[in-house]
């Protein structure tokens, strides 16, 4: 016993330090390998400039969206400022405010419910198995279930869901309002306080969770923040083809 202690004491300090450093190194290498994202990684050379271009376009998109929200806010302020004493202008402004609320052009604040969807952890072991990835249909189902639970506004990764919103798969990516959104997907909703109760009681939601989380392993997490902001829609509202029907007269009622 005393022989072992003597032997231990004879080991130089630098060797012990090196040993500990190498143990840490091994741990970090293992952690790095395991932390590779579950979706398949590609290594081809042509991807780097494409990723750079996509990120640049995404940055431009964010700036354009901010510009749109700013211009809409300035227009709303200018319209209110011009109403003066005109009763018609006041009535039209009130109607316009209600119409913008209905259209999703105004941010909303309220009781929140957040559903987060993530790919299954085992995707890395079964690359290419689409059932283990969160798809556009999964996100659409979640959005629909939140509407059925009473949501008054919904957004996916801060893209407001409006009358023209499509949620589509492009390769392994998801486009919401034609904007690229990266996983994990957060579907946020504001509405009545019992939204979660309604969601949990929905047979179709339970079936979805059982199938996608229970059988396929996609990860679904739910949070209920007491206050949540759903941003205004920051995309194009231009219409080229839809017109009021010949018989319809413009109305000032919401």
């Amino acid at each position: 016993m005393s022989g072992v202690a003597t032997r231990m004491r004879s080991i130089p300090v630098w060797e012990i330090t090196l040993f500990l450093a190498l143990v840490s190194l091994g741990f970090l290498i293992a952690a790095q390998v395991r932390s590779e994202t579950p979706r398949v990684r590609y290594t081809s050379q042509e991807r780097a400039p494409l990723i750079e271009t996509a990120l640049g376009l995404q940055t431009q998109q964010n700036a354009l969206q901010a510009q749109i929200l700013d211009l809409r806010s300035r227009i709303a302020s200018a319209e209110v400022a011009t109403q003066g004493s005109s009763a018609i202008a006041t009535q039209l402004n009130d109607a316009l405010f209600q119409a913008r609320l209905a259209a999703g052009l105004t941010a909303l604040d309220g009781n929140g419910l957040v559903v987060q969807l993530e790919d299954a952890l085992q995707v890395s072991q079964a690359a290419g198995n689409a059932d283990l990835l969160v798809t556009g249909r999964d996100v659409r189902t979640t959005v629909e279930e939140l509407w059925l639970a009473g949501a008054e506004a919904v957004a996916v990764n801060d893209e407001r869901v409006v009358a023209t919103t499509s949620i589509i798969d492009i390769g392994g990516s998801l486009l919401v309002n034609s904007a690229y959104v990266a996983p994990p997907y957060q579907v946020n909703a504001v509405g009545p306080a019992d939204m979660y109760t309604q969601l949990a009681a929905s047979a179709s939601w339970v079936e979805f969770v059982t199938s996608r989380a229970g059988q396929n392993g996609i990860r679904i997490a739910i949070a209920q923040p007491s206050s949540l902001i759903i941003p205004a829609y920051a995309g194009s509202v231009s219409i080229r083809y839809a017109q009021p029907p010949a018989s319809a007269a413009p109305s000032a009622n919401p």
Partner: protein, 224 residues
């Protein structure tokens, strides 16, 4: 000499250790989500982002003109009621609060139509630029959902009978092309739903009604 060699070894290990710690922290903090996409997927994504940015630039230009027009009316002392009315009509049609008419497509679904088929179709029409959609004569707005089993489908408590009629206002050429292209939605749905038949017809003039839903939130508060 021995001490110096040990110091060099330690320094080398510390360097690798530092690099790995940084890499690990960066990977844990989440990437862009694009690292694992193929070149083909990225090309498609770039094309979509370009299209979307063009639309947004158009919107910025439109809004800029609208703001200039209001400011000019203010300078003249006008109430700009005409501008407000035009804006109101536009937003109400876009939101689904008012009925709409225009060119588009009529899609007839026959056979075992499911709620998922209708939802996929509406999603694809929106992706193809539909500006207003009605299913079985019911205007589709964000919270409108088709439900039920084949044969007893309904939307907003309105039963859908066979054939199910879906009307969409927008570019009839774009929507027809998107739906009917090889490998497109129509081909996919007909291949995966035995007995389902989908017919897409471009129409010069369609009309869709206003929604019957009250779209103004009752609980959530506007954040101005």
């Amino acid at each position: 000499m021995r001490t110096r060699r040990s110091q060099i070894a330690l320094a080398a290990v510390a360097l690798v250790l530092g690099f790995l710690v940084v890499t690990q922290v960066r990977s844990q903090s989440g990437g862009t989500g694009l690292e694992d996409r193929s070149a083909q997927d990225l090309t498609l994504l770039v094309a979509n982002l370009n299209t979307r940015n063009d639309q947004l630039r158009g919107e910025v230009a439109d809004l800029g003109r609208q703001l200039d027009s209001i400011v000019a009316a203010q300078a003249r002392g006008d109430t700009s009621a005409g501008q407000l009315r035009a804006d109101l009509v536009h937003v109400r049609i876009w939101a689904g609060v008012d009925p709409a008419a225009g060119q588009g497509v009529r899609v007839m679904l026959r056979g075992p139509v499911t709620a998922v088929v209708i939802e996929d179709l509406v999603n694809e029409l929106r992706n193809a630029g539909a500006e207003a959609i009605a299913v079985g004569g019911v205007r589709i707005v964000p919270a409108t959902i088709a439900g039920g089993l084949p044969g007893s489908l309904s939307v907003e408590n309105t039963p859908l009978s066979d054939p199910v009629e879906v009307d969409a206002i927008g570019s009839s050429a774009t929507m027809t092309g998107t739906l009917t292209r090889a490998g497109g939605l129509v081909a996919q749905e007909m291949a995966t739903n035995d007995g389902l038949a989908i017919e897409v017809t471009p129409v010069d003039q369609l009309a869709v009604p206003a929604t019957t839903r009250d779209l103004v939130p009752r609980v959530a508060k506007p954040r101005l």
